[in-house]
Protein backbone atom coordinates (compact mmCIF):
# COMPACT_ATOMS: atom_id res chain seq x y z
CA UNK A 1 0.00 0.00 0.00
CA UNK A 2 1.17 3.55 -0.73
CA UNK A 3 1.93 6.17 1.89
CA UNK A 4 -1.08 8.27 0.85
CA UNK A 5 -3.32 5.20 1.12
CA UNK A 6 -2.21 4.61 4.71
CA UNK A 7 -2.59 8.27 5.56
CA UNK A 8 -6.06 8.40 4.14
CA UNK A 9 -7.06 5.33 6.11
CA UNK A 10 -5.98 7.12 9.31
CA UNK A 11 -8.04 10.15 8.31
CA UNK A 12 -10.99 7.88 7.53
CA UNK A 13 -10.80 6.03 10.84
CA UNK A 14 -10.29 9.25 12.87
CA UNK A 15 -13.03 11.27 11.22
CA UNK A 16 -15.66 8.69 10.24
CA UNK A 17 -17.74 9.11 13.40
CA UNK A 18 -17.73 12.91 13.20
CA UNK A 19 -18.74 12.89 9.53
CA UNK A 20 -21.45 10.31 10.27
CA UNK A 21 -22.90 12.41 13.08
CA UNK A 22 -22.70 15.54 10.93
CA UNK A 23 -24.73 13.80 8.23
CA UNK A 24 -27.18 12.29 10.73
CA UNK A 25 -28.00 15.81 11.94
CA UNK A 26 -28.74 17.20 8.54
CA UNK A 27 -30.31 14.63 6.24
CA UNK A 28 -33.08 12.05 6.65
CA UNK A 29 -31.91 8.77 8.22
CA UNK A 30 -32.14 6.90 4.93
CA UNK A 31 -29.70 9.32 3.32
CA UNK A 32 -27.06 9.44 6.07
CA UNK A 33 -24.93 6.63 4.73
CA UNK A 34 -25.16 8.11 1.23
CA UNK A 35 -23.76 11.40 2.46
CA UNK A 36 -21.00 9.64 4.40
CA UNK A 37 -20.08 7.55 1.37
CA UNK A 38 -20.16 10.57 -0.97
CA UNK A 39 -17.99 12.50 1.43
CA UNK A 40 -15.25 9.94 1.78
CA UNK A 41 -15.31 9.03 -1.88
CA UNK A 42 -14.85 12.67 -2.85
CA UNK A 43 -12.18 13.03 -0.19
CA UNK A 44 -10.37 9.96 -1.55
CA UNK A 45 -10.30 11.42 -5.03
CA UNK A 46 -9.26 14.88 -3.91
CA UNK A 47 -6.97 13.96 -1.06
CA UNK A 48 -4.09 15.75 -2.77
CA UNK A 49 -5.89 19.06 -2.20
CA UNK A 50 -5.96 18.68 1.58
CA UNK A 51 -3.51 21.13 3.09
CA UNK A 52 -4.75 21.68 6.64
CA UNK A 53 -6.85 19.87 9.21
CA UNK A 54 -8.74 16.91 7.76
CA UNK A 55 -11.96 17.27 9.76
CA UNK A 56 -13.07 20.74 8.62
CA UNK A 57 -12.14 19.79 5.08
CA UNK A 58 -14.25 16.63 5.31
CA UNK A 59 -17.15 18.48 6.90
CA UNK A 60 -16.96 21.05 4.11
CA UNK A 61 -17.34 18.18 1.63
CA UNK A 62 -20.09 16.63 3.74
CA UNK A 63 -21.91 19.96 3.81
CA UNK A 64 -22.05 20.01 0.02
CA UNK A 65 -22.93 16.32 -0.13
CA UNK A 66 -25.80 16.90 2.30
CA UNK A 67 -27.01 19.86 0.24
CA UNK A 68 -26.96 17.68 -2.85
CA UNK A 69 -28.93 15.02 -1.04
CA UNK A 70 -31.50 17.55 0.06
CA UNK A 71 -31.79 18.91 -3.44
CA UNK A 72 -32.39 15.38 -4.56
CA UNK A 73 -30.95 16.03 -7.96
CA UNK A 74 -27.42 14.85 -7.48
CA UNK A 75 -25.94 13.06 -10.42
CA UNK A 76 -24.82 9.57 -9.55
CA UNK A 77 -21.82 8.00 -11.11
CA UNK A 78 -21.39 4.26 -11.24
CA UNK A 79 -19.27 3.99 -8.15
CA UNK A 80 -21.61 6.13 -6.07
CA UNK A 81 -24.45 3.89 -7.12
CA UNK A 82 -22.50 0.76 -6.27
CA UNK A 83 -21.65 2.12 -2.84
CA UNK A 84 -25.24 3.07 -2.25
CA UNK A 85 -26.67 -0.25 -3.28
CA UNK A 86 -24.25 -2.12 -1.04
CA UNK A 87 -24.67 0.15 1.95
CA UNK A 88 -28.37 0.78 1.78
CA UNK A 89 -29.17 -2.53 3.40
CA UNK A 90 -28.68 -1.43 6.98
CA UNK A 91 -28.87 2.29 7.51
CA UNK A 92 -29.04 3.38 11.11
CA UNK A 93 -31.90 5.49 12.30
CA UNK A 94 -30.65 8.14 14.72
CA UNK A 95 -32.69 8.76 17.80
CA UNK A 96 -34.49 12.02 17.26
CA UNK A 97 -36.33 13.25 20.28
CA UNK A 98 -35.10 16.80 19.87
CA UNK A 99 -36.69 19.58 21.87
CA UNK A 100 -39.60 20.53 19.56
CA UNK A 101 -39.44 24.17 20.63
CA UNK A 102 -35.77 24.37 19.76
CA UNK A 103 -36.44 22.56 16.48
CA UNK A 104 -39.21 25.05 15.64
CA UNK A 105 -37.03 28.01 16.61
CA UNK A 106 -34.14 26.65 14.54
CA UNK A 107 -36.44 26.32 11.55
CA UNK A 108 -37.06 30.06 11.63
CA UNK A 109 -33.37 30.79 11.07
CA UNK A 110 -31.67 31.07 7.73
CA UNK A 111 -29.63 28.07 6.58
CA UNK A 112 -26.42 30.01 7.26
CA UNK A 113 -27.42 30.90 10.81
CA UNK A 114 -28.63 27.38 11.50
CA UNK A 115 -25.43 25.86 10.15
CA UNK A 116 -23.26 28.24 12.18
CA UNK A 117 -25.05 27.41 15.43
CA UNK A 118 -25.20 23.68 14.88
CA UNK A 119 -21.54 23.42 13.85
CA UNK A 120 -20.74 24.80 17.29
CA UNK A 121 -23.46 23.28 19.45
CA UNK A 122 -23.90 19.90 17.77
CA UNK A 123 -20.65 19.20 15.98
CA UNK A 124 -18.64 20.73 18.82
CA UNK A 125 -16.31 22.66 16.53
CA UNK A 126 -14.34 25.65 17.73
CA UNK A 127 -14.98 28.80 15.76
CA UNK A 128 -11.74 28.67 13.79
CA UNK A 129 -12.52 25.17 12.53
CA UNK A 130 -16.21 25.85 11.92
CA UNK A 131 -15.29 29.00 10.00
CA UNK A 132 -13.19 26.95 7.62
CA UNK A 133 -16.10 24.54 7.12
CA UNK A 134 -18.31 27.47 6.16
CA UNK A 135 -15.59 29.16 4.13
CA UNK A 136 -15.47 32.41 6.06
CA UNK A 137 -13.08 34.14 8.44
CA UNK A 138 -13.15 33.32 12.14
CA UNK A 139 -14.22 36.85 13.04
CA UNK A 140 -17.09 36.73 10.55
CA UNK A 141 -18.10 33.32 11.87
CA UNK A 142 -17.96 34.54 15.46
CA UNK A 143 -20.25 37.43 14.64
CA UNK A 144 -22.54 35.09 12.74
CA UNK A 145 -22.81 32.66 15.65
CA UNK A 146 -23.43 35.47 18.07
CA UNK A 147 -26.21 36.94 15.95
CA UNK A 148 -27.67 33.55 15.16
CA UNK A 149 -27.80 32.78 18.86
CA UNK A 150 -29.68 36.01 19.43
CA UNK A 151 -32.14 35.16 16.71
CA UNK A 152 -32.63 31.72 18.21
CA UNK A 153 -33.21 33.24 21.63
CA UNK A 154 -35.70 35.68 20.17
CA UNK A 155 -37.49 32.84 18.43
CA UNK A 156 -37.57 30.80 21.64
CA UNK A 157 -38.77 33.82 23.61
CA UNK A 158 -41.50 34.38 21.02
CA UNK A 159 -42.78 30.85 21.58
CA UNK A 160 -43.08 31.46 25.28
CA UNK A 161 -45.25 34.55 24.90
CA UNK A 162 -48.72 34.39 26.30
CA UNK A 163 -51.20 34.29 23.40
CA UNK A 164 -53.26 36.95 25.23
CA UNK A 165 -50.27 39.29 25.19
CA UNK A 166 -49.94 38.80 21.46
CA UNK A 167 -53.60 39.67 21.00
CA UNK A 168 -53.18 42.77 23.18
CA UNK A 169 -50.15 43.85 21.21
CA UNK A 170 -51.95 43.34 17.93
CA UNK A 171 -54.84 45.47 19.18
CA UNK A 172 -52.52 48.22 20.35
CA UNK A 173 -51.04 48.42 16.86
CA UNK A 174 -54.41 49.13 15.23
Amino acid sequence: MSESHDEFECVYQDCYAAVHRYAARRVPPAAVQDVVADTFLTAWRRYGELSGEPLPWLLGIARRAAANQLRGGARRDALHERLRSELRSSVETPRNDADPQVAAALATLSERDREALTLVAWDGLEHRVAASVMGCSTSAFTVRVHRARRKLERALAGQKRNPLDVVKEARSLR
Binding site: R71, S110, W122, S139, R147
Partner: protein
Protein backbone atom coordinates in the same frame (compact mmCIF):
# COMPACT_ATOMS: atom_id res chain seq x y z
CA UNK B 1 -20.62 33.93 28.47
CA UNK B 2 -23.65 34.88 30.49
CA UNK B 3 -26.10 32.42 31.88
CA UNK B 4 -28.80 33.01 29.27
CA UNK B 5 -26.34 32.44 26.44
CA UNK B 6 -24.97 29.28 28.01
CA UNK B 7 -28.50 28.08 28.65
CA UNK B 8 -29.49 28.66 25.04
CA UNK B 9 -26.47 26.87 23.67
CA UNK B 10 -26.81 24.05 26.19
CA UNK B 11 -30.48 23.66 25.25
CA UNK B 12 -29.53 23.63 21.59
CA UNK B 13 -26.82 21.05 22.27
CA UNK B 14 -29.34 18.90 24.13
CA UNK B 15 -31.62 19.05 21.09
CA UNK B 16 -28.93 17.46 18.94
CA UNK B 17 -30.82 14.80 16.96
CA UNK B 18 -27.64 12.71 16.66
CA UNK B 19 -26.34 13.06 20.18
CA UNK B 20 -26.85 9.38 20.86
CA UNK B 21 -26.16 8.17 17.33
CA UNK B 22 -23.11 6.00 17.04
CA UNK B 23 -21.97 4.78 13.67
CA UNK B 24 -22.35 1.15 12.85
CA UNK B 25 -18.86 -0.37 12.89
CA UNK B 26 -19.82 -2.87 10.21
CA UNK B 27 -20.83 -0.03 7.90
CA UNK B 28 -17.61 1.78 8.67
CA UNK B 29 -15.54 -1.26 7.72
CA UNK B 30 -17.63 -2.01 4.65
CA UNK B 31 -17.39 1.54 3.30
CA UNK B 32 -13.64 1.49 3.82
CA UNK B 33 -13.34 -1.76 1.88
CA UNK B 34 -15.30 -0.26 -0.97
CA UNK B 35 -13.31 2.97 -1.03
CA UNK B 36 -10.00 1.15 -0.84
CA UNK B 37 -11.07 -0.97 -3.81
CA UNK B 38 -11.84 2.14 -5.86
CA UNK B 39 -10.24 2.08 -9.32
CA UNK B 40 -7.03 4.10 -9.14
CA UNK B 41 -6.25 2.45 -5.79
CA UNK B 42 -4.30 5.16 -3.95
CA UNK B 43 -5.55 8.69 -3.37
CA UNK B 44 -3.45 11.53 -4.79
CA UNK B 45 -0.41 12.21 -2.65
CA UNK B 46 -0.96 15.07 -0.28
CA UNK B 47 1.35 18.07 -0.64
CA UNK B 48 2.58 19.06 2.78
CA UNK B 49 3.93 22.27 4.13
CA UNK B 50 7.32 21.43 5.59
CA UNK B 51 8.79 23.01 8.65
CA UNK B 52 11.62 25.36 7.81
CA UNK B 53 14.88 23.51 8.25
CA UNK B 54 16.28 25.53 11.15
CA UNK B 55 13.05 25.07 13.07
CA UNK B 56 13.02 21.37 12.30
CA UNK B 57 16.58 21.02 13.58
CA UNK B 58 15.62 22.99 16.66
CA UNK B 59 12.59 20.82 17.21
CA UNK B 60 14.69 17.68 16.96
CA UNK B 61 17.40 19.08 19.18
CA UNK B 62 15.21 20.17 22.05
CA UNK B 63 15.96 17.85 24.93
CA UNK B 64 14.00 17.40 28.09
CA UNK B 65 16.66 19.52 29.80
CA UNK B 66 15.42 22.61 27.98
CA UNK B 67 11.86 22.02 29.05
CA UNK B 68 13.06 21.60 32.60
CA UNK B 69 15.09 24.78 32.47
CA UNK B 70 12.07 26.61 31.01
CA UNK B 71 9.88 25.39 33.80
CA UNK B 72 12.48 26.40 36.35
CA UNK B 73 12.74 29.88 34.84
CA UNK B 74 9.01 30.33 34.81
CA UNK B 75 8.74 29.13 38.36
CA UNK B 76 11.37 31.61 39.47
CA UNK B 77 9.49 34.45 37.80
CA UNK B 78 12.36 35.23 35.42
CA UNK B 79 11.26 35.24 31.79
CA UNK B 80 13.93 35.49 29.11
CA UNK B 81 13.38 36.53 25.51
CA UNK B 82 13.08 33.75 22.95
CA UNK B 83 12.68 33.72 19.18
CA UNK B 84 9.75 35.74 17.83
CA UNK B 85 6.61 33.75 17.16
CA UNK B 86 6.47 32.93 13.48
CA UNK B 87 3.72 34.50 11.40
CA UNK B 88 1.01 31.99 10.69
CA UNK B 89 0.76 31.64 6.94
CA UNK B 90 -2.77 31.58 5.67
CA UNK B 91 -4.09 32.91 8.94
CA UNK B 92 -3.08 36.53 8.71
CA UNK B 93 -6.60 37.62 9.56
CA UNK B 94 -5.68 41.10 10.78
CA UNK B 95 -3.77 41.89 7.63
CA UNK B 96 -6.25 40.43 5.18
CA UNK B 97 -7.83 42.93 2.85
CA UNK B 98 -5.41 45.61 1.80
CA UNK B 99 -2.63 44.99 4.29
CA UNK B 100 -1.54 47.05 7.21
CA UNK B 101 -2.26 50.79 7.22
CA UNK B 102 1.03 52.52 7.95
CA UNK B 103 1.45 54.11 11.35
CA UNK B 104 -1.55 52.40 12.89
CA UNK B 105 0.17 49.78 15.07
CA UNK B 106 0.10 50.92 18.69
CA UNK B 107 0.83 49.05 21.87
CA UNK B 108 -1.65 50.57 24.31
CA UNK B 109 -0.32 51.89 27.64
CA UNK B 110 -2.29 49.32 29.60
CA UNK B 111 -1.30 46.25 31.54
CA UNK B 112 -3.41 43.80 33.47
CA UNK B 113 -1.96 41.35 35.98
CA UNK B 114 -2.35 37.66 35.34
CA UNK B 115 -4.15 35.80 38.17
CA UNK B 116 -1.24 33.34 38.27
CA UNK B 117 1.54 35.95 38.21
CA UNK B 118 4.24 36.48 35.60
CA UNK B 119 4.23 39.08 32.83
CA UNK B 120 1.04 41.14 32.66
CA UNK B 121 -1.37 41.08 29.75
CA UNK B 122 -1.51 43.91 27.22
CA UNK B 123 -3.20 45.03 24.03
CA UNK B 124 -2.07 46.22 20.63
CA UNK B 125 -4.22 47.86 17.97
CA UNK B 126 -3.73 48.10 14.24
CA UNK B 127 -5.76 49.08 11.19
CA UNK B 128 -5.84 47.76 7.66
CA UNK B 129 -6.03 49.74 4.44
CA UNK B 130 -9.39 48.15 3.74
CA UNK B 131 -10.91 49.89 6.75
CA UNK B 132 -10.76 47.30 9.48
CA UNK B 133 -9.35 47.79 12.95
CA UNK B 134 -8.03 44.93 15.05
CA UNK B 135 -7.05 44.35 18.66
CA UNK B 136 -4.44 41.79 19.66
CA UNK B 137 -4.05 40.58 23.22
CA UNK B 138 -1.05 38.85 24.74
CA UNK B 139 1.51 38.89 27.52
CA UNK B 140 3.75 41.96 27.89
CA UNK B 141 7.49 41.92 28.37
CA UNK B 142 9.95 44.72 27.68
CA UNK B 143 7.32 46.74 25.85
CA UNK B 144 6.55 43.87 23.48
CA UNK B 145 3.42 41.77 23.08
CA UNK B 146 3.88 38.04 22.90
CA UNK B 147 3.39 34.61 24.43
CA UNK B 148 5.22 32.55 27.00
CA UNK B 149 6.58 29.10 26.26
CA UNK B 150 4.31 27.14 28.55
CA UNK B 151 1.02 25.26 28.32
CA UNK B 152 2.52 23.20 25.50
CA UNK B 153 3.41 26.29 23.46
CA UNK B 154 6.95 26.79 22.11
CA UNK B 155 8.05 23.44 23.50
CA UNK B 156 7.40 24.71 27.04
CA UNK B 157 10.74 26.57 26.86
CA UNK B 158 9.64 29.19 29.39
CA UNK B 159 10.85 32.00 27.09
CA UNK B 160 8.94 35.05 25.87
CA UNK B 161 8.08 34.95 22.16
CA UNK B 162 7.09 38.26 20.61
CA UNK B 163 4.03 38.17 18.36
CA UNK B 164 4.33 39.06 14.70
CA UNK B 165 1.40 41.20 13.57
CA UNK B 166 -0.20 38.10 12.08
CA UNK B 167 1.13 35.44 14.42
CA UNK B 168 -2.04 35.31 16.45
CA UNK B 169 -5.40 34.39 15.14
CA UNK B 170 -8.36 33.82 17.40
CA UNK B 171 -7.12 36.29 19.98
CA UNK B 172 -7.34 39.05 17.39
CA UNK B 173 -10.67 40.76 17.16
CA UNK B 174 -11.36 42.93 14.14
CA UNK B 175 -14.18 45.27 13.25
CA UNK B 176 -14.89 48.01 10.75
CA UNK B 177 -13.39 51.41 11.52
CA UNK B 178 -15.79 54.27 12.12
CA UNK B 179 -15.94 57.38 9.96
CA UNK B 180 -12.98 58.87 11.82
CA UNK B 181 -10.86 55.74 11.45
CA UNK B 182 -11.31 54.70 15.09
CA UNK B 183 -11.95 51.25 16.51
CA UNK B 184 -14.97 50.57 18.74
CA UNK B 185 -15.07 46.99 19.91
CA UNK B 186 -15.89 44.83 22.93
CA UNK B 187 -14.73 41.23 23.01
CA UNK B 188 -15.14 38.26 25.34
CA UNK B 189 -12.81 35.33 24.76
CA UNK B 190 -12.83 32.32 27.05
CA UNK B 191 -10.45 29.50 27.86
CA UNK B 192 -7.23 31.04 26.61
CA UNK B 193 -4.10 29.32 27.98
CA UNK B 194 -2.03 31.49 30.32
CA UNK B 195 0.75 31.27 27.74
CA UNK B 196 -1.41 33.60 25.58
CA UNK B 197 -0.67 31.33 22.62
CA UNK B 198 -3.46 29.68 20.72
CA UNK B 199 -1.91 29.98 17.28
CA UNK B 200 -0.74 27.02 15.27
CA UNK B 201 2.07 24.93 16.65
CA UNK B 202 1.56 23.82 20.22
CA UNK B 203 -0.98 25.11 22.65
CA UNK B 204 -3.51 23.21 24.66
CA UNK B 205 -7.22 22.93 25.24
CA UNK B 206 -9.15 22.62 28.50
CA UNK B 207 -10.60 19.37 29.74
CA UNK B 208 -14.05 20.67 28.76
CA UNK B 209 -13.03 20.61 25.07
CA UNK B 210 -14.98 18.24 22.88
CA UNK B 211 -13.38 15.34 21.08
CA UNK B 212 -13.18 17.32 17.85
CA UNK B 213 -11.56 20.26 19.59
CA UNK B 214 -8.87 18.02 20.98
CA UNK B 215 -7.50 17.35 17.50
CA UNK B 216 -4.92 19.81 16.16
CA UNK B 217 -4.41 21.11 12.64
CA UNK B 218 -2.31 18.06 11.78
CA UNK B 219 -4.91 15.60 13.04
CA UNK B 220 -2.87 14.91 16.19
CA UNK B 221 -4.28 15.06 19.71
CA UNK B 222 -3.85 18.41 21.46
CA UNK B 223 -2.44 18.61 24.97
CA UNK B 224 -4.90 19.30 27.76
CA UNK B 225 -4.28 22.46 29.81
CA UNK B 226 -4.37 22.29 33.58
CA UNK B 227 -7.55 24.09 34.64
CA UNK B 228 -5.47 26.58 36.62
CA UNK B 229 -3.86 27.72 33.36
CA UNK B 230 -7.11 28.70 31.66
CA UNK B 231 -7.98 32.38 31.36
CA UNK B 232 -10.99 34.42 30.27
CA UNK B 233 -10.27 37.74 28.57
CA UNK B 234 -12.70 40.66 28.47
CA UNK B 235 -11.33 43.57 26.49
CA UNK B 236 -12.38 46.42 24.31
CA UNK B 237 -12.11 49.96 23.05
CA UNK B 238 -14.93 52.26 24.14
CA UNK B 239 -13.64 55.46 22.56
CA UNK B 240 -12.41 58.79 23.84
CA UNK B 241 -15.69 59.66 25.59
CA UNK B 242 -15.42 56.71 27.98
CA UNK B 243 -14.05 57.32 31.46
CA UNK B 244 -14.22 54.00 33.28
CA UNK B 245 -15.91 50.63 33.55
CA UNK B 246 -17.34 48.83 36.57
CA UNK B 247 -17.12 45.08 36.77
CA UNK B 248 -18.04 42.56 39.41
CA UNK B 249 -15.92 39.55 40.32
CA UNK B 250 -16.81 37.17 43.14
CA UNK B 251 -19.48 39.60 44.27
CA UNK B 252 -17.05 42.52 44.61
CA UNK B 253 -17.45 45.56 42.32
CA UNK B 254 -14.33 47.19 40.88
CA UNK B 255 -14.13 50.40 38.87
CA UNK B 256 -11.27 50.72 36.40
CA UNK B 257 -10.38 53.79 34.34
CA UNK B 258 -10.29 53.30 30.59
CA UNK B 259 -6.94 54.02 28.95
CA UNK B 260 -6.05 56.57 26.28
CA UNK B 261 -8.13 58.07 23.52
CA UNK B 262 -9.10 54.53 22.55
CA UNK B 263 -10.94 54.07 25.87
CA UNK B 264 -9.25 50.69 26.32
CA UNK B 265 -9.92 48.15 29.03
CA UNK B 266 -8.72 44.61 29.67
CA UNK B 267 -9.83 42.19 32.39
CA UNK B 268 -8.21 38.79 32.83
CA UNK B 269 -9.74 36.14 35.07
CA UNK B 270 -9.27 32.46 35.66
CA UNK B 271 -11.66 30.41 33.58
CA UNK B 272 -14.37 28.54 35.35
CA UNK B 273 -14.00 24.75 35.20
CA UNK B 274 -17.70 24.50 34.36
CA UNK B 275 -17.79 26.86 31.39
CA UNK B 276 -18.28 25.37 27.97
CA UNK B 277 -15.09 25.64 25.95
CA UNK B 278 -16.51 25.34 22.50
CA UNK B 279 -18.93 28.18 23.04
CA UNK B 280 -16.25 30.54 24.19
CA UNK B 281 -13.18 29.75 22.15
CA UNK B 282 -14.12 32.10 19.35
CA UNK B 283 -15.49 34.69 21.73
CA UNK B 284 -18.09 37.30 21.07
CA UNK B 285 -18.00 40.90 19.89
CA UNK B 286 -20.57 43.60 20.55
CA UNK B 287 -21.20 47.34 20.65
CA UNK B 288 -21.22 47.06 24.45
CA UNK B 289 -19.51 44.44 26.63
CA UNK B 290 -21.73 41.38 27.04
CA UNK B 291 -21.23 37.85 28.33
CA UNK B 292 -18.75 39.02 30.95
CA UNK B 293 -18.39 40.60 34.39
CA UNK B 294 -18.75 44.25 33.25
CA UNK B 295 -21.86 45.89 34.65
CA UNK B 296 -21.47 49.61 33.89
CA UNK B 297 -19.78 51.94 31.41
CA UNK B 298 -19.11 55.47 32.62
CA UNK B 299 -18.68 58.42 30.26
CA UNK B 300 -16.98 61.79 30.72
CA UNK B 301 -20.25 63.70 30.33
CA UNK B 302 -21.66 61.91 33.35
CA UNK B 303 -23.75 59.35 31.52
CA UNK B 304 -23.65 55.73 32.67
CA UNK B 305 -24.60 52.72 30.62
CA UNK B 306 -25.97 50.03 32.92
CA UNK B 307 -25.58 46.67 31.24
CA UNK B 308 -28.36 44.16 31.66
CA UNK B 309 -29.16 40.64 30.56
CA UNK B 310 -30.75 42.22 27.49
CA UNK B 311 -27.74 44.26 26.41
CA UNK B 312 -26.84 41.67 23.78
CA UNK B 313 -29.94 42.69 21.84
CA UNK B 314 -28.28 46.04 21.11
CA UNK B 315 -30.09 49.21 20.02
CA UNK B 316 -32.15 50.69 22.82
CA UNK B 317 -31.61 47.53 24.88
CA UNK B 318 -27.82 47.92 24.94
CA UNK B 319 -27.90 50.23 27.97
CA UNK B 320 -30.31 51.14 30.72
CA UNK B 321 -31.24 53.96 30.40
CA UNK B 322 -30.94 53.82 26.63
CA UNK B 323 -27.82 55.45 25.23
CA UNK B 324 -26.69 55.77 21.66
CA UNK B 325 -23.93 53.14 21.77
CA UNK B 326 -21.17 53.12 20.84
CA UNK B 327 -20.94 56.67 22.17
CA UNK B 328 -18.62 58.72 19.97
CA UNK B 329 -18.92 56.40 17.00
CA UNK B 330 -19.05 58.32 13.74
CA UNK B 331 -20.92 56.96 10.71
CA UNK B 332 -18.92 56.26 7.55
CA UNK B 333 -18.29 59.36 5.49
CA UNK B 334 -19.06 57.76 2.14
CA UNK B 335 -22.81 57.72 1.49
CA UNK B 336 -24.52 54.53 0.39
CA UNK B 337 -24.87 54.58 -3.41
CA UNK B 338 -28.40 55.17 -4.61
CA UNK B 339 -30.46 52.52 -6.37
CA UNK B 340 -29.92 54.41 -9.64
CA UNK B 341 -26.14 54.50 -9.09
CA UNK B 342 -26.16 50.76 -8.45
CA UNK B 343 -28.15 49.78 -11.50
CA UNK B 344 -26.22 47.45 -13.82
CA UNK B 345 -27.43 45.16 -16.60
CA UNK B 346 -26.86 41.55 -15.57
CA UNK B 347 -26.12 38.82 -18.07
CA UNK B 348 -27.27 35.34 -17.08
CA UNK B 349 -26.45 32.50 -19.45
CA UNK B 350 -27.39 28.84 -19.13
CA UNK B 351 -24.43 26.62 -19.99
CA UNK B 352 -23.60 22.94 -19.95
CA UNK B 353 -20.25 22.04 -18.53
CA UNK B 354 -17.98 19.20 -19.60
CA UNK B 355 -19.92 16.70 -17.54
CA UNK B 356 -23.17 17.74 -19.17
CA UNK B 357 -24.54 19.44 -16.05
CA UNK B 358 -26.20 22.83 -16.30
CA UNK B 359 -24.60 25.95 -14.89
CA UNK B 360 -25.66 29.58 -14.94
CA UNK B 361 -22.94 32.12 -15.73
CA UNK B 362 -23.59 35.58 -14.33
CA UNK B 363 -21.69 38.72 -15.30
CA UNK B 364 -22.15 42.44 -14.86
CA UNK B 365 -20.06 45.59 -14.96
CA UNK B 366 -19.51 46.76 -11.38
CA UNK B 367 -21.56 49.96 -11.03
CA UNK B 368 -19.39 51.12 -8.12
CA UNK B 369 -15.95 50.01 -6.98
CA UNK B 370 -15.41 47.88 -3.91
CA UNK B 371 -12.59 49.61 -2.09
CA UNK B 372 -12.72 48.25 1.43
CA UNK B 373 -14.22 45.87 3.93
CA UNK B 374 -17.33 48.02 4.37
CA UNK B 375 -18.90 47.13 1.01
CA UNK B 376 -19.24 44.02 -1.09
CA UNK B 377 -21.29 42.41 -3.84
CA UNK B 378 -22.93 39.06 -3.28
CA UNK B 379 -25.27 36.73 -5.13
CA UNK B 380 -28.38 35.13 -3.69
CA UNK B 381 -30.44 32.60 -5.57
CA UNK B 382 -33.17 30.03 -5.09
CA UNK B 383 -33.85 26.87 -7.01
CA UNK B 384 -37.20 25.24 -7.62
CA UNK B 385 -38.37 23.34 -4.54
CA UNK B 386 -35.99 24.96 -2.07
CA UNK B 387 -37.60 25.25 1.38
CA UNK B 388 -38.69 28.69 2.51
CA UNK B 389 -35.84 30.74 3.88
CA UNK B 390 -33.17 28.68 2.16
CA UNK B 391 -31.10 30.31 -0.54
CA UNK B 392 -27.85 29.70 -2.30
CA UNK B 393 -24.97 32.08 -2.68
CA UNK B 394 -21.52 32.09 -4.08
CA UNK B 395 -18.35 34.08 -4.56
CA UNK B 396 -17.99 36.81 -7.14
CA UNK B 397 -14.77 37.37 -9.04
CA UNK B 398 -13.01 39.71 -8.53
CA UNK B 399 -14.08 40.45 -4.99
CA UNK B 400 -12.83 44.04 -5.09
CA UNK B 401 -13.59 45.30 -8.60
CA UNK B 402 -12.99 48.83 -9.83
CA UNK B 403 -15.99 50.66 -11.27
CA UNK B 404 -16.90 49.27 -14.67
CA UNK B 405 -14.86 46.08 -14.25
CA UNK B 406 -16.62 42.88 -15.24
CA UNK B 407 -17.63 40.79 -12.24
CA UNK B 408 -18.69 37.20 -12.74
CA UNK B 409 -20.09 34.26 -10.82
CA UNK B 410 -21.24 30.73 -11.52
CA UNK B 411 -24.34 29.07 -10.13
CA UNK B 412 -24.19 25.29 -10.19
CA UNK B 413 -21.27 23.38 -11.66
CA UNK B 414 -19.35 20.22 -10.84
CA UNK B 415 -20.77 18.70 -7.67
CA UNK B 416 -23.57 21.27 -7.58
CA UNK B 417 -26.05 20.17 -10.24
CA UNK B 418 -28.96 22.53 -10.73
CA UNK B 419 -32.45 21.29 -10.15
CA UNK B 420 -34.77 21.48 -13.17
CA UNK B 421 -37.19 24.37 -12.99
CA UNK B 422 -36.99 28.09 -12.37
CA UNK B 423 -33.77 29.41 -10.87
CA UNK B 424 -34.11 33.01 -9.73
CA UNK B 425 -31.81 35.29 -7.82
CA UNK B 426 -30.14 38.65 -7.58
CA UNK B 427 -26.82 40.40 -7.29
CA UNK B 428 -26.84 42.49 -4.14
CA UNK B 429 -24.64 45.35 -2.99
CA UNK B 430 -24.00 45.44 0.76
CA UNK B 431 -22.82 48.52 2.65
CA UNK B 432 -22.18 48.47 6.39
CA UNK B 433 -23.41 51.81 7.66
CA UNK B 434 -23.49 50.94 11.35
CA UNK B 435 -20.94 49.82 13.93
CA UNK B 436 -19.58 46.30 13.87
CA UNK B 437 -18.79 44.06 10.96
CA UNK B 438 -20.54 43.83 7.62
CA UNK B 439 -23.30 41.32 8.12
CA UNK B 440 -26.97 41.00 7.69
CA UNK B 441 -27.60 43.13 10.76
CA UNK B 442 -29.69 46.29 10.85
CA UNK B 443 -26.64 48.48 10.18
CA UNK B 444 -25.96 46.88 6.83
CA UNK B 445 -27.82 48.26 3.83
CA UNK B 446 -28.55 45.77 1.06
CA UNK B 447 -29.48 47.03 -2.40
CA UNK B 448 -30.37 44.93 -5.40
CA UNK B 449 -28.08 45.59 -8.36
CA UNK B 450 -29.99 43.30 -10.73
CA UNK B 451 -32.21 40.24 -10.69
CA UNK B 452 -32.13 37.18 -12.89
CA UNK B 453 -34.42 34.28 -13.71
CA UNK B 454 -33.39 31.22 -15.71
CA UNK B 455 -35.35 28.09 -16.58
CA UNK B 456 -33.15 25.04 -16.03
CA UNK B 457 -34.23 22.14 -18.30
Amino acid sequence: MKAHAIETMARLAAADPARDASPDETERARLWQLIAATPGEAPPKRTRARLPRPRLRLALAIPAVLALSGAALAASGVIRIGAPAEPVKGFSAPLRGGGLAKGTVHLLPLSTADPGGGPPWGMRVLSTRSGEGCVQVGRLLGGKLGAIGRDNAFHDDGLFHQFALDSTFAKSACTLLDGNGRIFLNATVGDIPASAWIGYGGGCVPSTATRAERIDEHGKPRALCPQADERNLYYGLLGADAKSITYKLNGVAHTQATVGPEGAYLIVTRASPTQLFNFNAGGTQDVVPVDGPITELHYRDGQTCHLTSRSWIGGSDACTPALHEPIGWTPPRTPVPSVAQLYAPLHARLLRNRTGAYEVALSFAAPVAITGARTTYKTMWREAGMPTGVYGGGPLTPSEPVAGQTVSARVGGPGHPLRPGILSGAVIFMDATGPGNIEEGPGTVERVVARFTVRVP
